[in-house]
């Protein structure tokens, strides 16, 4: 593992000051499940200074707020979310999606904040290739073996897929996050948090959080009445593996008619892909087999597969059919 120096601040202010002092040499350290892999592989981009935020009080909780929604502290372990009765009852799709992340032991270590802000799992980046995210000026995935970890929906510089399942499952609940920044607390929607590969502080990353900002809380609005949700994830094995394609579906129903819809695909692009065209098409229609046949071809029409990953799109469409079928009862 690369050499590291670890700070243990006891407040977000202190953590932000330390992060500000080190620039991109430092990074927030929480569960470490992603970070340690990059440190072990001695990636150029892996930080030299870790700011351990686990000594900061009260970033690990699941509580109801006044609006009837739920607040989840960024340091809440994934296992705690899976075990939470409130989440299971009110946000079953979130329970299911997080329960399918990595493995039980890793869910004991990983935090929600870490899952949302994790680095991509492109095999070239993780293998130390000199790519955009690792100090170079090339995307190996765009021209290499891109069957699994790369976008079939186009890209800008880095074609790696955004790997987090929690974000995919949170967006259909219209969730938002709180960021502690040097100039105060900011709130932004989950969708805006992970817009795909972009340059932040001179680095390519999937999310907009700057080097001296800390994600502190996830805000999940109250579930809509008559909502039906479904999370589907296609992966080679029943444990550990990232999504080849994933789908989170949140339909607000009036009888068998869809009043409103959220359709978000994961595992196929540099960000969770919200398919508004599909949402619009579904709105006001009766959920039946005929609707599934009609809507599936309208999904992901702007796909731009690479050499080996065209089937990601077909799989994702299959998941859409499957998800709608599950909710059609």
């Amino acid at each position: 593992m690369k050499k590291i120096a670890v700070y243990r601040p006891t407040s977000t202010d202190e953590a932000i000051r330390i992060l500000s002092s080190h620039g991109t040499e430092a990074a927030v350290y929480a569960g470490g499940t992603d970070l340690l892999v990059r440190l072990k592989n001695r990636l150029k981009q892996a930080p030299a200074y870790l700011v351990d935020i686990k000594k900061i009080n009260d970033l690990r909780y699941i509580r109801e707020d006044q609006s009837g929604g739920v607040r989840i502290g960024a340091l809440t372990k994934l296992a705690e979310i899976v075990d939470s009765e409130i989440i299971a009852k009110r946000y079953p799709m979130l329970s299911k999606a997080i329960g399918m992340i990595s493995s039980p032991e890793l869910r004991n270590a990983s935090t929600l904040g870490g899952d949302l802000l994790q680095e991509v799992w492109c095999q070239y980046l993780r293998g130390g290739y000199n790519c955009w995210r690792n100090g170079g000026y090339l995307c190996y995935g765009a021209i290499g073996d891109n069957s699994y970890y790369h976008s079939a929906m186009g890209g800008r510089l880095c074609y790696a897929v955004y790997p987090g399942d929690a974000a995919t499952a949170l967006i259909p609940y219209d969730a938002a996050v709180k960021l502690a920044t040097p100039t105060g607390v900011q709130e932004l929607s989950l969708e805006k948090l992970v817009p795909g590969d972009l340059m932040v502080d001179g680095r390519i990353q999937s999310h907009v959080v700057r080097h001296n900002e800390i994600l502190t809380e996830v805000i999940v609005p109250p579930p809509r009445p008559n909502a039906r949700t479904s999370f589907e994830k296609l992966r080679p094995r029943g444990v550990w593996d990232f999504a080849m394609a994933a789908l989170a579906l949140n339909l607000e129903m009036r009888g068998s008619v869809i009043d409103d819809a959220r359709v978000v695909f994961g595992g196929i692009a540099g960000k969770p892909v919200r398919e508004r065209a599909v949402e619009d098409y579904l709105r006001g229609k009766t959920l039946d087999a005929a609707l599934i046949d009609q809507v599936v071809p309208r999904a992901l029409t702007n796909a731009a597969p690479l050499k080996y990953n065209a089937m990601k799109i077909e799989m994702a469409k299959g998941l859409l059919a499957s998800g709608l079928d599950t909710l059609r009862t």
């Binding site: 002092s21 080849m244 089937m311």
Partner: protein
């Protein structure tokens, strides 16, 4: 959250509070202070010293900020029970409980666990006080190689502490983060559920195999349908008509111990559950140095120069080894092959890889430099400071590229085709002219590999001029002798210890073995023990793989379904191994050819080996199986469909059926018909879809089968047989030895050189010895093994030779011992040996039970012990006279909407010889099927666009070993086609059936959804692509 409370609890149990506390050592990295900032940065921690509450005791350790909990436990504190395998949080072997919750210790910084309550396998129970999980796990064979065991036992303990009555689903969910390479999952689940029951005070249920259908064959068999043998006490063997005593005098009759299901030998098995099995990776000395590799990033390059000057000055670095200062490796001349360039050989001439630290790099991942340092991290720091100047050369790493015009010539102008072999019968062109139907097929196998869970490696330690090596391999004497040659010292100066392996698969041992001379050298010049444990991504480039192959068939058949002409062409990528392994000739590959062409009048088979910059081929949990048989099994199904025949019916028309007088197939035990017919019956083949993809609905099920012929365990002769002496006297003879000793306590100890990789072969041998010595159970038999200080000289295992040839030596020793015991008893009882019988640890007069003497008394009368040494030898005519057949029937379900598929169930059929211990055999075969499933479905660890193994740096996320959630329900079918050549009708399982699995899966997927996959591996995107093509 929990730590404080649990800590106080621990403190209440008498652990000194003052011992706990974290003391930060001032940082070595000076933190910059932001310019103009009023904020003074605190000092970050780069190293510290803390107390750890481990298994109820307090330990203090100093560590760096980057040090993992595993390193503190297993390296610093010497709690070596916790194994580290992937080191990337992708296998679960290293799990420990922290405050009652399981974590991967390889992926937890030590600082996170400081002051918290840790439970490791050592705290679960020891051999004197086994936890139910350990005791019941041992009884149910819930560990084969045992390398994952310490991890899941700890996690299961955490589950049972909270839930005393878990359901099967809860057990699976809790253990989902644990890969068992040997796929002992059914036994693991049963162990946890049984343990819970026992902990609730209920009675344990008896230990039984899960799923065996045992089809017994008569002692005299029928030649009409299958291989057989005539009545009488003698067997006429092979073309030379050698007369052999049937069953070697030990007939499979009135058996008491053979055929009984019982746990593995306790001394081999229980340490796997207590964390005490001494894998090389568990060997630790406080003053030990750790070696790490720098590997080549290019598929082909020549090192122009290396600058290690900075690395040598790095803190903690003891030595840096490169081609410049590596010792000359002395080579034993190889008499069986001719080649240019250096080769390392062993006495059997079967191991032909370039020596370590070459200057010419022939594959990405080749080792460029080795650093020995105080810790792995410090060694890696130094590795990062080494500068290498490469001349990067054009490369070619796939068959497609090697065939392309203008491909770079890797053989200095000789062309990349190393050589071709042709075998044929009849006139294939005439055959095609006579055929009613002629079809051509092409299949590609992308390559596969069996990766052991134990990191390949070794420990070398000198005491004066004596060297001890803790190794990882498949024998101890041949590698010891080769190492002695390399080092230029007497073999007797080397003690070689290798008792347990976290598997080797043939593939793994070379990754350890290739570096023994250099590890010994490093230990000698540093004066300290040196250990190497290869990281998985680097190990992949050192393992032998199942190579890439391209197979083309042209098949001509009559309308009635009889093949009349068959042309088979196979192209192989053999890396830089120009002689040996897949480059040495078709070898085992002729098996599948023989299986299907014995009744084909015209056939031709061409085998071509190409040099490439791909990983090296060789044995990889079986040798020349999936890489050649995947194509055969798909072709047989495609041809059957063309001819309108059921795949079984079509195979029945062609499979070899040995007949008396046909010297081409001199097999007396060859259950080709039964394997298909009985397997189909057990599996329920009659319910298969008649039309591929014919079922309606989204989820479609399909059935498929694959068949295979393989050696049934390479055979030879035991001392006392006429052929033995000449074979054993040859210069490169492959001789096996075993010693059996009866002590004054009457216990029988077998001393056997071979390590145990999880097949528990010693257990099977012990049951045979117990039977031979007249016991009615195995309780008096012990084993001492895997150490040149203990066991007599013996060759190594591969090709199923453990039960056949180590068996030959051990059974020979038992036979001698038995004769000796009779003679001694006769003298002592003053009677004739012929009037005595052997039973239950004593010799008794047939007509007077009171006239008796125990083995112990005989030993005491003989001065304390009675010993016999037995020997066996490989080779000779018998080697090729023992064959096995196998089959695999599978059912899969394809989700036609998403391309997803599930492996529902399998019936795995084996032509077994007599089954010595069904329980242990079942454990081995369950793993065999899962292993082959992984080979069938997971891409080769070799990037197709940027050739190399670097991206395999995320552990088993990139080499996807099936988890507890992924495995099918299995039924094992044992057809005990008794082998009359051998003791009690034994032959080896020899992974015969493993080659059938990939073809069976491809055939089942086709049957389910109509998608024919001809390009290995079987992946969801290929299924999806096929489904989409079908729809358009």
């Amino acid at each position: 959250m929990f730590s404080r409370r649990d800590f106080l609890k621990a403190a209440g149990q008498g652990i000194a509070l003052t011992a706990v506390g974290v003391r930060a050592v001032p940082s070595a990295i000076a933190a910059p202070v932001a310019q103009g900032s009023p904020f003074a940065l605190p000092t970050p921690v780069t190293q510290e010293q803390s107390a750890f509450l481990i298994n109820g005791k307090t330990f203090t350790a100093a560590y760096e900020a980057r040090t993992t909990l595993w390193e503190v436990l297993a390296v610093t504190l010497g709690l070596t029970g916790t194994n580290r395998s992937c080191n990337k949080a992708s296998c679960g072997a290293c799990s420990v409980l922290i405050d009652g919750v399981p974590f991967y210790s390889c992926h937890t910084l030590a600082m996170e666990a400081a002051g918290r309550k840790i439970l490791t396998v050592e705290g679960v129970g020891d051999e004197k006080n086994l936890h139910p999980l350990q005791r019941i796990g041992h009884q149910h064979v819930a560990a084969d190689c045992g390398f994952c065991t310490a991890g899941w036992v700890v996690t299961a303990k955490g589950l049972l502490d909270k839930n005393r009555n878990p359901s099967e689903e809860q057990v699976k969910a809790a253990l989902a983060g644990h890969i068992c390479r040997c796929a002992a999952y059914p036994s693991i689940i049963q162990t946890v559920i049984e343990s819970a029951a026992v902990m609730r005070g209920e009675k344990a249920s008896p230990v039984e195999p899960h799923s065996i259908v045992h089809i017994k064959q008569p002692m005299v068999r029928d030649f009409a349908t299958h291989g057989g043998h005539a009545p009488g006490d003698e067997l006429i063997e092979g073309p030379s008509k050698t007369v052999t005593r049937k069953w070697q005098g030990y007939a499979p009759r009135d058996l008491k111990v053979i055929g009984q299901s019982m746990p593995p030998l306790a001394e081999v098995s229980i340490p796997r559950f207590t964390g005490k099995a001494e894998y090389a990776s568990r060997v630790r000395f406080p003053d030990m140095l750790h070696a790490r590799f720098l590997t080549c990033p290019h598929p082909r390059a020549r090192i122009k120069d290396i600058d290690t000057s900075a690395a040598e000055k790095m803190p903690g670095v003891a030595h840096v080894l490169t081609y410049k200062n590596a010792p000359e490796v002395r080579l034993k001349p190889d008499t069986t092959t001719t080649t240019t360039g250096p080769v390392v050989t062993t006495p059997n001439g079967n191991r032909l890889v370039p020596p370590a630290l070459p200057r010419d790099m022939n594959l990405q991942g080749e080792v460029v430099a080795i650093v020995a340092a105080e810790t792995e991290d410090l060694a890696d720091d130094a590795i990062a400071a080494i500068r290498v100047d490469y001349e990067v050369l054009p490369f070619v790493s796939t068959i497609k590229d090697v065939l392309a015009p203008g491909a770079p010539d890797l053989r200095g102008g000789k062309g990349n085709l190393i050589r071709s072999w042709e075998s044929k019968a009849g006139d294939v062109e005439r055959g095609f002219a006579e055929a009613d139907v002629v079809k051509e097929f092409e299949y590609h196998f992308a390559g596969g590999v069996s990766v052991p869970m134990q990191p390949s490696g070794s420990v070398a330690k000198w005491d004066g001029d004596r060297l001890t090596i803790w190794g990882m391999g498949q024998g101890i004497y041949p590698v010891r002798n080769a190492l002695a040659t390399s080092l230029g010292i007497e073999a007797s100066k080397i003690r070689f210890i290798n008792k347990w392996n976290g598997s080797t698969f043939g593939s793994g041992r070379l990754a350890a073995e290739r570096f023994y001379p250099l590890m010994a050298h490093l230990a000698r010049i540093t004066g300290r023990p040196v250990k190497i444990m290869l990281p998985k991504d680097q190990e992949l480039a050192q393992l032998l793989i199942k190579p890439e192959t391209l197979t083309r068939f042209k098949v001509g058949a009559k309308k009635d379904g009889q093949i009349v002409a068959l042309q088979h062409e196979i192209l192989l990528s053999v890396g830089d191994v120009e002689t040996g392994y897949h480059a040495s000739g078709p070898g085992n590959a002729t098996n599948q050819l023989e299986l299907y062409t014995s009744r084909v009048p015209h056939w031709r088979s061409v085998w071509s080996a190409y040099k490439t910059n791909a990983p090296r081929p060789g044995p990889s949990r079986s040798y020349i199986q999936q890489e050649t048989k995947w194509s055969w099994e798909a072709m047989m199904d495609e041809m059957a469909e063309t001819l309108g025949l059921d795949p079984i019916e079509f195979r029945m028309k062609h499979i070899t059926r040995p007949t008396p007088g046909d010297d081409r197939y001199p097999y007396d035990s060859f259950a080709s018909v039964e394997v298909l017919a009985e397997g189909a019956k057990v599996f329920g083949w009659d319910k298969r879809n008649a039309k591929p993809g014919g079922a309606s609905g989204r989820f479609k099920r399909g059935m498929g089968l694959g068949m295979t012929q393989h050696h049934g365990g390479l055979m030879g002769y035991h001392e006392g047989e006429p052929a033995f002496a000449a074979l054993a006297a040859a210069p490169d003879a492959s001789v096996f030895g075993s010693e059996i000793e009866v002590g004054s306590d009457g216990l029988v100890t077998m001393k056997i050189a071979l390590p145990d990789s999880g097949s528990n072969a010693g257990t099977a041998i012990a049951q045979v010895v117990a039977e031979m010595l007249g016991f009615s159970n195995r309780d008096a038999i012990r084993i001492a093994w895997g150490d040149t200080n203990i066991a007599p000289s013996s060759d190594e295992w591969f090709g199923g030779r453990t039960i056949t040839l180590q068996g030959a030596a051990t059974f020979n020793a038992a036979d001698k011992l038995r004769t000796d015991l009779f003679a001694r008893a006769a003298r002592l009882l003053k009677t004739d040996a012929g009037s005595l019988r052997i039973a239950d640890g004593g010799i008794v007069a047939v007509d007077n039970p009171k006239q008796a003497v125990t083995f112990g008394a005989l030993a005491r009368a003989g001065g304390g012990t009675i010993r016999a040494i037995g020997r066996g030898v490989a080779g000779g005519e018998r080697t090729g006279q023992n064959k096995g057949v196998g089959a695999c029937f599978v059912e899969v379900e394809v989700d036609t909407w998403t391309g997803d598929w599930r492996f529902i169930r399998a019936t795995y059929v084996h032509d077994t010889g007599i089954v010595i211990n069904p329980l242990v055999a079942e454990a081995d075969m369950i793993g065999s099927l899962v292993e082959s499933t992984q080979v069938a479905t997971d891409p080769i660890p070799w990037d197709r666009e940027f050739p190399g193994t670097r991206h395999y740096s995320v552990g088993y996320l990139s080499y996807r070993l099936p988890t507890i959630m992924d495995v099918p329900t299995q039924t094992q079918v044992y057809i005990d086609s008794l082998e009359p050549r051998w003791f009690y009708g034994i032959k080896s399982f020899s992974e015969t059936s493993i080659g059938a699995v990939p073809g069976a899966l491809a055939n089942a997927i086709y049957n389910a959804c109509g998608v024919r996959i001809r390009e290995h591996p079987i992946t969801r995107d290929k299924i999806m692509a096929g489904l989409r093509r079908g729809r358009l």
